[in-house]
């Protein structure tokens, strides 16, 4: 890498020349086939589809380009087949986009490729059967412009995710990339960069919502020559994958954001900390750092400004608590990832005791947009206290799952009903009255209920109703979901992930999980609820870091919005959603039972009786709910075991 660097970086990087060369080389390309190669689509076989495209196109005798290497101005001809990062609509993957026709094919299988080559690439017609069909209207949608899932979004941070080749730094530059970093290094003072970002009102997208500009300014003011910038890509919230998609789909935007942050605070070294569960994101960010270094964008004397910046990529090792900034830094230093008390804040004493700025992936990817268009323009989107857009991972019981981006202030109804296409039941069928709740912000967050459907979502409005934006995971739950079990799920999660430093977090989460078990398994009484609430407040108060402080949130939210459901478990020993196994009454449905006697022979405790060819009955007092009868019954006549 150093050798290449020395060869290429003879002067400051000429972004305009790179962009112009790219433009000239690609001008004669007729069509572009973009195959989504995000984690979701790859799981669906996108790489096979990609290979199939290459071989089918070759077999059809069409000219094709697969790699836009800068070959001294040679221009490329014919078709260009490229891979992209996550296009967001993971559920319909593998996705194939054909530009400039604006056609999007969904659920493309390798067998379909030949038809696409023959019909679309050779003949410029559309393969109707591969288009996305809107489940609400039944209409075929030709491309993103017509698909409701995309139509309702406002993609700024994700604009190039899923369109450009994430492994081609020149394409990013061609779309104006790294110009904002150059402006920061060559035309702006560190103070001016901090001021511009502060003025934009950008707030940290990782959950806290702290003003990014202020954070930078505080770090900038610290004396000393050595400072660090860290990108926090340890996206551990279950049900969230926004940062993964940005790192996979447009890693250079994150690097550019880090460069601007480094310029603002005067850092010459940076780390990107990525979860090990995201191997593709790790690979793409590594490649992006290598390419940027090879071009001379990173390294010594960035943009001939006299400043240097080196970035390293570090892989996490599977600890949720490392998303907390002080724990993350401990882990970069090669120690156990345990948080420490603040102050001193990382701005004063961070990595190896030096002033450090640590920002979330999405925050950093937003920064270049602010410098490109100006703070005033940036503020035009979103709400006054939460400007800009936010990406959300929309999952759970909803028709369209995937990655979305909407302005702050969008309502839950827009997100779930319009973009998400509404709620589904357990069999995956649309269910109009099925909406029960949305879990937002993962294990630190809370629940939103039908009464919040028209609440404009931003940092402050969510805090007001006892939830938080968190990192942006939105899990939709239908009315067959038991909210006590969901609270139990999160408590189990935080209990597993508690680092063990604070007694109240370590033991309190365990006891809260045990109390929730009592409720689910029918052992609870009034005292259980009192204890649960007391404990929740104590854990919140007695924990050092955000993990413990917010761990009780799911429980408190459940008690606040679903009290009746909790009380049904406690006082009536009944699970209204019918999910809690211990609270179900075993029953044989007489109209389905054929009297085949298999169940009574399978029952290990002799709880089932009945005459041959007559409906059987089950003795609830004897039944141990082992489920052997239900598993053996061919007629699905046994419920509640």
């Amino acid at each position: 890498m150093n050798r290449q660097n020395a060869n290429l970086a003879t002067g400051p990087v000429d972004l305009e020349r790179i962009a112009a060369d790219y433009e000239a080389e690609t001008r004669q390309l007729t069509r572009r086939v973009v195959i989504c190669a995000g984690t979701g689509c790859v799981a669906g076989g996108a790489l096979k589809v990609h290979r199939q495209f290459l071989s089918r196109i070759a077999a059809a005798g069409l000219a094709v380009t697969v790699d836009l290497k800068p070959e001294n101005g040679a221009s490329h001809q014919g078709l260009y087949v490229s891979k992209s990062g996550c296009q967001g609509f993971c559920q319909m993957g593998p996705l194939v986009t054909i530009e400039p026709d604006g056609i999007l094919y969904a659920r493309v299988k390798p067998e379909d490729v030949e038809e696409i080559v023959d019909v679309t690439l050779k003949d410029s017609r559309v393969v109707e059967r591969l288009l996305y069909v809107s489940p609400s209207t039944g209409e075929r949608c030709r491309g993103q412009a017509e698909i409701p899932f995309y139509k309702q979004q406002q993609r700024t941070v994700l604009k190039f995710c899923g369109r450009i080749d994430p492994e081609d730094v020149r394409e990013y530059i061609h779309h104006g990339g790294y110009a904002a970093a150059r402006r920061a290094f060559c035309q702006m003072t560190p103070e001016a960069v901090c001021e511009e970002v502060a003025h934009s009102g950008l707030r940290g997208r990782g959950g806290g919502g702290f003003s990014t500009g202020r954070k930078w300014e505080l770090t900038r003011q610290q004396p000393g020559p050595k400072k660090y910038v860290i990108c926090n890509g340890d996206e551990g919230d279950p049900g969230a994958f926004m940062d993964r998609s940005v790192m996979e789909g447009n890693p250079h935007s994150v690097i550019e954001g880090m460069m601007i942050a480094a310029r603002a605070i005067g850092a010459d070294e940076g780390y990107v900390y990525v979860r090990a569960e995201y191997p593709l994101a790790v690979a793409r960010v590594r490649r992006a750092v290598d390419d940027a270094t090879a071009l001379g964008l990173l390294g010594d004397d960035v943009f001939a400004s006299g400043h240097s910046l080196r970035i390293q990529v570090m892989e996490g090792a599977g600890a949720f608590v490392c998303g907390e900034e002080t724990a993350l830094m401990a882990s970069v230093e090669g120690k156990r990832g345990m948080p420490r008390p603040k102050p001193p804040f990382p701005a004063q004493s961070g990595l190896w005791g030096k002033p450090t700025v640590i920002n979330n992936v999405e925050t950093l990817a937003t920064v270049p947009l602010i410098l490109r268009q100006g703070a005033v323009q940036f503020r035009k989107i979103g709400t006054p206290t939460s400007p800009g857009t936010k990406t959300f991972a929309l999952t759970g019981h909803v028709v369209n799952t995937g990655l979305i981006e909407v302005p702050f202030g969008a309502t839950l109804r827009q997100i779930v009903m319009e973009i998400g296409g509404g709620v589904i039941d357990d069999q995956g069928r649309p269910s109009n009255d099925g909406f029960k709740a949305v879990q937002i912000g993962g294990p630190s967050g809370g629940c939103l209920t039908p009464e919040h459907l028209d609440l404009p979502l931003d940092f402050d409005s969510l805090q007001g109703v006892g939830a938080m934006v968190g990192s942006g995971g939105l899990v939709v739950m239908n009315r067959h979901t038991c909210m006590v079990s969901v609270a139990r799920f999160f408590m189990q999660f935080t209990q597993n992930e508690s680092c063990g430093k604070c007694v109240l977090c370590r033991e309190g989460t365990r006891q809260m999980a045990a109390l929730l078990d009592d409720i689910i398994e029918g052992r609870a009484d009034r005292q259980t609820l009192v204890l649960l609430e007391q404990l929740a407040k104590a854990v919140r108060k007695g924990s050092l870091c955000g993990l413990g402080k917010t761990a009780p949130n799911p429980v408190l939210a459940t008690l606040r919005y679903f009290r009746a459901e909790v009380e049904a478990h406690v006082f009536q020993k009944r699970c209204p959603a019918g999910r809690c196994k211990a609270l179900r009454t075993p029953e044989i449905l007489a109209d389905l039972c054929k009297g085949c006697t298999i169940c009574s022979r399978k029952c290990p405790v002799g709880a089932i009786s009945g005459e041959r060819k007559m409906p059987h009955t089950i003795d609830a007092a004897k039944c141990i709910k082992c489920g052997a009868c239900a598993a053996a019954c061919k007629f699905h006549a046994i419920v509640g075991v």
């Binding site: 979701g40 790859v42 996206e235 599977g318 156990r336 993962g442």
Partner: protein
Amino acid sequence: MEKEVKAPPAPSGARQFAKVCDILDRHQRNAARLIPILQEVQEEYRYLPEEVLTFVATSLGLPPARVFGVATFFSHFTLTPRGKYTIRLCDGTACHVRDSIAILEALYERLKINAARNTTPDMLFTVETVSCLGACGLAPVVVVNEEVHGQMTPKRAVELVDAIIAKENAR
């Protein structure tokens, strides 16, 4: 499942530490690089043998307790040998509400293992849950080594295991 697939033996003697030495050298024996070093060691042996941990500690000038502390803190590190195929079942929120636990139970039953003993005696499979793989759009998700399988059902998960066993037996 008749064929025995043995985990690579724990290294013993100076010769066996050669690979660990290479890894240590690549990281300039820098104690701050402890986590990447352990990650590479684990990639080599599929787990972290105790002797290697002590060796790494001595080489980096760290107390062994510190290295054990790190190795036991992070969930990616394991001190017991893992099977040839690690099956990771995602139990993130999205997968959980779509009933990922039923898949886990089906896998346990098929492989006759449980949460406490999660590796098959023939060292072919290890089954574990992870908190979120970030492929929520495809929930529930199962990952076999690095290969992601989306929209799983208990039946499909068992078929996946059967296919691997058939492939291994054919070898």
